[in-house]
Amino acid sequence: MATVIGMPIDRIDGPAKVTGKAIYAADVGADKPVFGAIATATIAYGSIKSIDASEARRQPGVLLVWTHENAPAQAPWVPKAEDPFARPKPQLDSKKIQYYGQPVALVVATTFEAAREAAALIDVTYEKGEGVFDLENAGKDTKTPKQDNVGKPAASKVGDVDMAMRTGFVSVDETYKTPYQNHNQMEPHASTAIWDGDKLTVHCAVQLVESAHACIATTLKLPPEKVEIVAEFIGGGFGGKLPVYGDAILAGLAARELKRPVRVVLTRQQMAHVTTHRGASVQRVRLAAQRDGTLTAIAHESLAQTARADDFVEPIVASTRSLYAAPNRFTQQRTAVLDLPIPGSMRAPGEAIGLLALEQAIDELAVKLDMDPIALRLKNEPKDDPEKHIPFSTRNLVACLQQGADRFGWNKRNPKPGANRQGQWLVGMGVAAAIRGNFLRKAEAKVTMTSAKTATVEMDMTDIGTGSYTIFAQIAAETLDIPVEAVTVKLGHSSYPDTPGSGGSFGASSCGAALLDACQKLKARLDKGEGPQGLTAMGKAAPGDDYKKYAQFAYGAHFAEVGVDADTGEVRLRRMLGVFDAGRILNAKTARSQLIGGMIWGVSSALYEEQPLDLRFGSFMSVDLANYHVPVHADIPSVEAATLKEFDRHANALGSKGVGELGICGAGAAVANAVYNACGARVREYPITVDKILPALS
């Protein structure tokens, strides 16, 4: 049997994507589709006093205008549910405004342009209330929740941090801030809804087909079997397409009303408010250590936004509980309930911003100790999970740090800030650790021999650009001992077997393990002489006891070299390296792409990305890609990702862990630490822009 799993093969959906044959939700062919445009609220809190849509209705080509006064009845929103993404998402169901940019009307017209123009003509008068928008001044709306979003306790306490802070040889007590961010996927949120008799098909841009199916069916009060969700290609999700939004619900309702296909696409500007974002955070980190660098205390407290209209609690401090050893520990996640758009998961919710604070604080401690920051981390490597006291399934943070240091040339780093000047550039290096929780979810897969040498795989899993199609083909090919080209992978239809979809980096492992199971069963029957033609097997995967018995994480170490312009304070990345331990790698090429994509986003969080909030209006102000900065090619000269050879037998039958989010975890902190090493500016408020560096340059 040839080794196929792990090989760096090109993505099998690549040719379809670059030739335009991959069809996205807004491009789905439909018979005489009509176009919906959403109008959104221009206040953040209050209610609609009156709404005048007469002008919009008079526009040529307009077929339908819905507001809360005449939109069809839908199932009501429920505040709590086991699967938050399956909850009903009723649209235009009330005059109440809960956040700026909330949809207040839908116009459907024969052309996209006419719909948009008419939507702009809807005249809404509001009764404005006093919303709470300021994370740091939310008063009684500042809460201490019991649990975070993944069901972990929101706080943990071991020993006495205050005492350790008083008695430590050195200590760090600093506050870090991270800004609001938007996913800004290349593909906007889009839906095309088509009715055929009493059956509704919604082509939509979602990560979780199963949840979307439940959400859309319940919201529209339809029997589940009368709804099909199709999401064959998704142009980026990053957590922002976990929920279903108004585009899908309203397209489905309007298509029923008009008896023809309806397409609704959010504009780039609308995406900032209508869809979820990453909430801003204020994080306090306290560390105490002995003279030799042994940590005696770690405390990490975070305050982040949750929306009054939702219950998301980002697990910002959760992984801090498992990263380093220390006898005295405290973590706490607090929230401010704000009248802002709804925050949600965005690539590595929790660690992505938690490590921006923690891993910069560790660097600050190393400076105070006059100790190498890698040596400091090695010194505090825990033997088992420091709070749960269970073994790690696998943990290779030490190897990641050491191998990375060798490859990067860490020994050439001068620990003194500002010591390495090259022309106008002050050059510095930084390091940070990566940790990301590893998850497995219940999944099913079906594999069918379509001939003696060809097979088809079916799952309602999505490929949000990550490479899912390709790794599934590899798993089936290797297990069935057929060429990769002989495998057809069908994803993204709700009628296919149930999977958890794409999110939390659990997709490849959960679905991959289910598929492995299906293929092994099929192979066993083939070997017995059954089939082949038409032979089918179902497989499944589910988290077992090993998720309770072992602490499961993926790890990494980031190394960054930056130049800071001594005249202007401009920071430019020079090179970056990440070494990762993510269990078994299922495709070296797509895994690398995921990892460097995450690292680049980490650079973005460190240096560029910010969604400014206007506190007077409760509205975001960088709503297009000219103003919302992410790195451009010129910002990313060289990024390398390497993975260790690993197999985590406690994680799942494939031995793999998630890679989709690991790359962003800690990456920004390595950049921030490199900035400090380059020029001595310790910037604790991200992103690290010129204005925050200038004061440190003489």
């Binding site: 123009e117 560029y608 709503v623 103003n627 090619h633 010129a634």
Partner: protein, 331 residues
């Protein structure tokens, strides 16, 4: 976007004649106008596409000027050998703007007339005096990191976003037009832009329907030129501060002549004449260059988010002249 009628102009006179139609606007590359139409900041009733008019040449006049047709793309302008040789600061300014794709599409005339990037100007749900005179300015107490510190008023602090125009300011270009009440004229770039005052919706002294046909560059002044742009990422970002500078030194390393214009800090592309004058005769060195930065920013007023631009601009002015002095002394 509002529905509009569209025509493709066949020649300059026809374009000018059509501009009398109600709500008519010229469209060249469309890279600015179309974006603004989509968000209904601009709502022209009629578009006159001038992109096929024969205004794509760069030519030398007998007087030694270089005339640049209004439809010369930003890419072609920056790549032209005469521009690179004689006006390197202009070539640098242009390639420091936008992205390669945009520069291929954007034109010289359109670049001069691009509108501010102030987020409140772009958001029709917020008040903006540029969009609706008298409505109030949301930027004064708002998200104003990118706004101007020079030339602002209580009605508007929106920064002019062009890089190209900053270099043209320093090079004392002349804008040539057709149409308008005079049938066409030459406007020195120093007289082209307006300060916002209490009429920030009027950004230039062009008359309605007046078509830019070319931009004339006089022979470059003696000295070394450069353009330095400070921005939040390495490419594809508007200037926080930019500096177009020319420095000419005599044999004793005294300043014989200097030109200085700034971008990112002004409500219009900003010429710093006083700073230039103050440098003449001074010994080239940190003292004179720091003084130039201080004089250039003397009247600056920060509004919170943009305060950092004042010290930043002073530094960049001083360091840019210092860089020019070093490169002159190296020959």
């Amino acid at each position: 976007m509002k529905a509009f009628t569209f025509e493709r102009a066949t020649d300059v006179d026809a374009a000018v004649a059509s501009s009398a139609k109600p709500g008519a606007r010229f469209i060249a590359g469309g890279t600015n106008l179309l974006d603004l139409m989509k968000v209904e900041v601009e709502k022209p009733a009629h578009l006159i596409d001038i992109s096929r008019l024969p205004l794509r040449d760069i030519a030398e006049t007998p007087e030694g000027d270089l005339t640049v047709g209004a439809l010369v793309s930003n890419t072609d302008l920056a790549a032209h050998p005469k521009v690179r040789e004689r006006y390197p600061m202009l070539a640098r300014a242009v390639v420091n703007g936008a992205s390669a794709q945009l520069r291929n599409q954007a034109t010289t005339g359109g670049n001069l007339l691009q509108r501010t990037r102030c987020p409140y100007f772009y958001d029709v749900a917020k008040s903006c005096n540029k969009r609706t005179p008298g409505a109030g300015c949301s930027a004064l107490q708002g998200i104003n990191r990118m706004t101007a510190v020079l030339g602002g008023s209580d009605a508007c602090i929106a920064a002019h976003p062009s890089d190209m125009a900053v270099a043209l300011m320093a090079l004392e270009a002349t804008i040539e037009t057709k149409g308008g009440s005079k049938g066409g004229r030459k406007i020195a770039i120093a007289d082209f832009y307006r300060l916002p005052g209490d009429t920030p919706h009027r950004e230039t002294n062009l008359e309605p329907g007046e078509l830019i046909v070319s931009v004339a560059l006089p022979p470059p002044p003696a000295g070394q030129q450069t353009y330095r742009k400070v921005r939040d990422r390495a490419s594809y970002a508007f200037a926080l501060v930019s500096v177009a500078a020319i420095l000419d030194l005599d044999a004793d390393k005294r300043v014989r002549g200097a030109r200085l214009a700034l971008g990112g800090v002004g409500t219009m592309p900003w010429r710093a004449l006083d700073a230039e004058k103050g440098m003449v005769g001074a010994e080239a060195g940190d003292k004179a260059f720091a003084a130039a930065g201080a004089v250039a920013m003397a009247g600056a007023r920060g509004r919170g988010g943009n305060d950092f631009k004042i010290p930043l601009a002073k530094r960049v002015v001083a360091r840019t002249f210092a860089g020019l002095a070093t490169s002159i002394s190296k020959g």
